[in-house]
Symmetry: C2
Subunit: 315 residues, 2 copies
């Protein structure tokens, strides 16, 4: 595949960026997982299993969960949804999770966020047994990630890493900017990007990393972005990243996803990047939709197979 | 105290940086702790207690432990050292830690690193009960730190934060560079510097943070440092940070400490910063020795009082 160093050799010529096809890449990964899962079952194991808990009626959350379940079934994972009314108490939710924690037929547990009402999401995330926490939200898994130990990496962060790897984007000693410091996305991405590639997790990418966020002054955001070989943005602010902020040939990974209404009154999904203009300058770019999103679901399936394999080895 | 914004108002005039007196600041903090501990005891509590485990005969480690014990005794902490031969097995060490974990007369446990031989330091650090882990090395405490939750912060990282606070160095929306990505120093400092000040830990400083390390090209290190309002360096590479790399008025916190032999054949301790030259450009600077070092010991005492208070509330 074409890398951004290739682009640089083209000088100032305006060529369109390589479009990172997250949908195709996700299909590739799911096909690989399907084969691996079939082999795993052929060795005498039961199919990896995933349980998704959803509380309340948020339509977007239900769509996300349906997509995850469908992807799981496609690759051969035994996946079901546990649906609860928004009236469910926190104690009842915790009891439901504990029951899945001790169920030897369950490998992966996922609690769809956000939770309704005044539930303590941190407490709920910490209730999921760390070895079944395929979302990587348990405090122990966060600690392991930050110490470069093997763990479950939150699927969106892992999707970004996997895109960089599969598209052979060089990160070693390169400048990366992460825009957004959320604990599920920006933080783990920045952690893996700057970490030592020789450490146990093998996810370290040895880049020089700048974390920008809502309090980074606009001119400083531009300063850091213009010097970046890789920009990863996860803010939910449409058109935050403009063509004038991009170093020619840079790789742009857009994790943002916002529903907007266009001039014709139609709603559509957009990312954080002014895609039309930035794609004329960048070396490679993810579209929204069809970039990081489908990859996130694929990486959740990857985590579920990991959970099954680790639990099988333990038992 | 004079801030670097004051310096900027001086224009290009060359004035010497404010020297951050870590020794005096540490004394100030220890005096405050002494008063707090006396009040705590006056309320009917026993004195906070700290147990330092040291294995083997490394002279530097013994010096560090002696300094910690002395500081603890000075502030009214009941502190003792448990010394073991280098022949101690990992299982015996773990048994010793477990015995302290369950001892209601022990609030803080510290295992001096490095451990000799082939001991698994990660396993040992994870054996210390998280609520007694005054070094903040347990995976749960690392996870909490990275999620901006109240926790024990590694003392050196906390020392840096405390210096910035006490010297009223503005961090909000400022550019900070952290040089070095170690898990006990650079990583937690970068985490607190970039995090949201509104989160539970109240340690977030809302700076834009760039993490540089051994694979950051020299010219890029210079690029980021020259744009930084705050530089925190923790590499152990003498004179890595030179005057040409400093923005006039910047704050320089030097965590590095290296023993070198000078031209006269005398050994002395130096930091990462070319102190003599950089102090002509910087707004504020920590010397080595006498900067971060004494503050680290003071913050360990702070953590020990915290441990005692939290455990007292629980019992």
């Amino acid at each position: 595949m074409r890398s951004h160093t290739y682009y640089e050799s083209m000088g100032a010529a305006r060529i369109m960026a390589q479009i990172i096809d997250g949908k195709a890449l996700a299909k590739e990964i799911k096909d690989e997982l399907k084969t691996k899962i079939q082999s795993y079952i052929n060795l005498g194991n039961r199919a990896p299993s995933l349980r998704c808990i959803i509380v309340g009626e948020d339509p977007a959350s239900h769509t996300y969960v349906r997509n995850k379940i469908q992807a799981a079934i496609d690759v051969g994972i035994d996946a079901t949804t546990l649906k609860y009314d928004a009236t469910l108490s926190e104690d009842e939710l915790i009891a439901a999770i504990n029951s899945l924690n001790t169920d030897n037929n369950v490998d992966g547990i996922l609690v769809q966020l956000p939770l309704p009402g005044k539930m303590d999401e941190r407490k709920v995330c910490n209730t999921v047994a760390p070895e079944k926490d395929v979302d990587g939200f348990h405090i122990t898994n966060v600690g392991q990630l930050c110490l470069d130990m093997p763990t479950f990496v939150p699927a969106t962060a892992l999707a970004v890493v996997e895109i960089l790897k599969r598209y052979k984007i060089d990160t070693f000693g390169r400048n990366a900017v992460v825009v957004g410091r959320s604990k599920n996305v920006g933080m783990p991405i920045a952690m893996m990007l700057h970490s030592d590639g020789k450490h146990d997790s093998k996810l370290g990418m040895d880049a020089t990393v700048t974390v920008c966020h809502r309090y980074t002054p606009a001119e400083q955001l531009e300063f850091f972005c213009r010097n970046a070989d890789i920009i990863i943005t996860a803010t939910g602010v449409p058109k935050l990243i403009k063509a004038t902020m991009i170093k020619p040939g840079a790789t742009i990974i857009d994790v943002g996803i916002t529903r907007i209404t266009d001039e014709q009154g139609k709603t559509k999904l957009v990312g954080d990047v002014d895609y039309e203009e930035v794609s004329k300058i960048a070396g490679a770019i993810t579209p929204v939709p069809g970039g990081v999103g489908p990859m996130t679901v694929a990486m959740l399936m990857h985590n579920t197979l990991q959970a099954a394999q680790r639990l099988a080895r333990k038992n």
